[in-house]
Symmetry: C2
Amino acid sequence: MPIPILQCDRNSKDQYSRFLLGAREDLSAATARILPILEAVRTKGDQALLSYTEKFDGIKLSQVTIDPKQFKTNIDPKIKEAFLRAKANIEDFHLAQKRESWSKIIDGNRLGVKYTPIPSLAVYAPGGKALYPSSVLMGIIPAKIAGVPSIQLITPPQKEGLPEILVWLAQILEIDRIVTVGGAQGIAAAAYGTESVPKSEFIVGPGNAYVAAAKSFLSGQGLIGIDSPAGPSEVCIIADGSANAKWIACDMLSQAEHGEDSSAILLTTDLTLAKRVSEELEIAFVERPKRLQMKQKAIYENSAVLVFPNIDDCIWFSNELAPEHLEIQTENNEIIFSKIDHAGSVFLGPYSPVAMGDYISGTNHILPTARGSRIYSSLGVDTFLKRVTFQEVTKESLETLYPFVKLMSELEGLDEEHGTSVKVRTKGHE
Amino acid sequence: MPIPILQCDRNSKDQYSRFLLGAREDLSAATARILPILEAVRTKGDQALLSYTEKFDGIKLSQVTIDPKQFKTNIDPKIKEAFLRAKANIEDFHLAQKRESWSKIIDGNRLGVKYTPIPSLAVYAPGGKALYPSSVLMGIIPAKIAGVPSIQLITPPQKEGLPEILVWLAQILEIDRIVTVGGAQGIAAAAYGTESVPKSEFIVGPGNAYVAAAKSFLSGQGLIGIDSPAGPSEVCIIADGSANAKWIACDMLSQAEHGEDSSAILLTTDLTLAKRVSEELEIAFVERPKRLQMKQKAIYENSAVLVFPNIDDCIWFSNELAPEHLEIQTENNEIIFSKIDHAGSVFLGPYSPVAMGDYISGTNHILPTARGSRIYSSLGVDTFLKRVTFQEVTKESLETLYPFVKLMSELEGLDEEHGTSVKVRTKGHE
C-alpha cells in the first residue's frame, strides 16, 4: 500500500479535490464541554482553576502562578547553546520586521501611521508529550520585539514539576509569570483574568481541542484576539527531476511524524521522481520504524504524489492548496517562487528542509494551516502591532476641502452635524 | 437634562466604568435567524438568492449580478469632483502603506518576507437610508493597492434601481461585478459562491445585525476573513482650556448623528470648558433640531464629560477606552499623542474634526469599535496583504546548524524524522 501517485491535470478534480477541503477540526463537541468551565472561571476565579486542576490533572496546586525568576534550573549547556542560537536567529529575523511610524503631507495635511503594541499577551504551551519548547520562542520573541508590555506563559502543571526547559526559557525571555493551569481553564484564566492571573487581550499557541475551542469561542465573543486556528501540519513540495528523492521522502516523513492526520503533497512533472520518492518512503519505514502506524496512516491516507503535465500546473495547484509549508526543489526555484501567492512559509533549494525553519534558521513556525494562508500570515511582529492612523489638518486645507465635505455629507444625509463640524471652523463661521 | 459632567480620578470606577464595557451588539437572535438562510444559499445558490430577495426586499430580480460598465450614469460634476478628490487622497495615504518584500542573510542563510495579496474580496455596502458611498472608497481602495485580483461589491437591490453613485464608484474603482443581493443572503452568496457569484475569501463593510451575524458566523467557521466587527460609532476628545467649546460640541454631535447608541466622551482637566461644552450642546440642539431625539439620547445617555485632576489621567482613561476616534485639542498635542497607545484614528489640533477623516483627508474611516483598538487596526493595505516568509539555507549553514537541530528535536521527541531530514543532507550522509 504505497503512497498514491496520481496523474493529474487542472481538470481532474476527482483526483485532487479531497486535498483542497481545508477541513478544520470540528470543535462543536469540545465547545459544548468547555462552556461551563469558562463560566466557572469567569465567576469563581482562582478557586475554579484549583478545582479543575485537581479534577483534570490530578494535581493539588497551592497557587496557580509561579515567578520563573525564583527557580534554579540545571540545563545541559549544549541544550542551552542550541536554544540561544535559535533565539538569536529568531530575534534577527523578527527585528527586521519591526516598523517605523511615519507621516507625510497629503493634500496639505499631515497624515501618518503610528505603530503601537497590543497591551498584553498570553502564550499557551502544551504539556506532557506535546512539550514543544521551540514554540515558546516562536510565540514570545515577536511579541517582545513588538514591545508588548505584559506577557504570561500558560502551561499545564506536571506531577513531577514544571519542565526545567520551560522555566529556563521563561527566565531568558524575561517572562514575569507562568500560569500553571492547562486546558480550557488555563485559557479562560487569561481571557477573563482572576485574582492571580491578569487578563490578557491576546492568546496564541497550540493546544488540544479544548484549548482550541476555548480560544475560538472567546475570540468570537470579542474578548480576546487569537492566532489563526491550528490544524494538522502539512507540507507541499514542488520538485523536478533534479531533486533528491531520498531527501524529499525525509521531508514528507517529518510532517507525518506530527500525527496521522498530517499531510505531505509532492507536486512534480516527473513520474520517475514520483516512483523513487515512493520507494524511499518504503525504505524509510523499514529503517525508522518508530511510530510507524501513525506515519504510514499520514502518508498512505492523507498524502499523495500528484504528477502534473507541466510546472505551471504544479504552481497552480500549490496556490490552490495554500500550504502551511512549501518546499521548492527544482532547477528554477526563484522563478517558481515568484509565482507563489499563497503559502505560510517557503523553503527554497535542496538544503532547506522544513525542520531548519522549525528549529533554528529564524523564521516563525507558528503558521496558518488548512488553506489559511490564502488570507492569513505566520506569527510575526505585525501580529502584535496595531496601526494607529493620525492626521493634523491645517486651517487652509480645511477651508479648501470644506465644499467637498459639504457635498459628500449631504449625499449621505449627515450634513447637519458632520458638515457643520467642518463648517464652523471655516472663515466667517468661527 | 444636560450631558453628565463627572469629576473623576482613576479610582472613581463607579463614575466611569460603564463607558469601559466595550459592549458589542448581541448577535445571538440574529444568528439564529440567518442560519437557515446561509444553508439555503449554500445548497440552492442563485435560486435561494432570488427567492429571499423577493421575500425580504419585495423585488423580483431577473439576475443577481450586474456589470457596472454596462450602465450609463449621470452624476453631478461637483459630486464627482468631491469623490475624486477623496479618492486621490485615500490612494495617496494607502499607497504609503504598501510594503516591499525583503530578504537578508541571517546566520549564513537568506531569510525574507514576500508580501502577497489575498485572492478575493467582497465589500458590502448597505442600501436604503444607510447608503454611505464614502465607505465604498474606504473598503475598495486599500484592497486595490494591495493588489487583490478579484473584488466584488455586494449591496441590496432598490425598487427604484441601484443608486447611480454606487454604480459610478464601481466604474471608477474598476469593479467587475455588483451583486444586488442584501442582508445575510448577500453575505452567504459571497462566502459560499453561487452559479453567478464567485466565492470571496474575505468580506468587509458595515451592515445591519443580520449582515454582522452572517459575517461573524462564517468567519468563525473558517470560511471567510472579515474586518473587525462594527459597533456604534464613538469619539473621545482630550481637550484643555485652550480648546474651542463650540467646535468640540459640534464634533461630539457629529458622532451622535450616527445613532442613539453612539457615544462621545470629553476628557478634560478644565471644569469651565466642561460647562461651556455642555452649554454649546444645548444651543446646538435648538439650532439644529434634525433627528433631535436620537442625538439627545446619544449625548445624554451614552456620552459624558469626565473631568480629571490632570492630563495624564485623561491620557490614561483614553488608553483604557481605546476609542474608535480620538481628537486631541490642547496646547500640547504632540506630547499627549506620544503617550497614546490604543485608538483607531487620532485627530490632532483644532482643525481636525473627525468628519475630515470620514470623507476627504485620506485616512480610512473603517475602524475598530467597542475598545477593539486595543488589539485591532483600521482597515488598511495590510488588511489585504499576507507575509509569506521564506528561506534558502546553504549547505555550509546546514552543516553548522545540524547539531543544534539534533538536540532540539531530541528534546521534543521529533528527532527520528525532523532530525533525520537535516542529517541526511550533511556530509557523509547524503
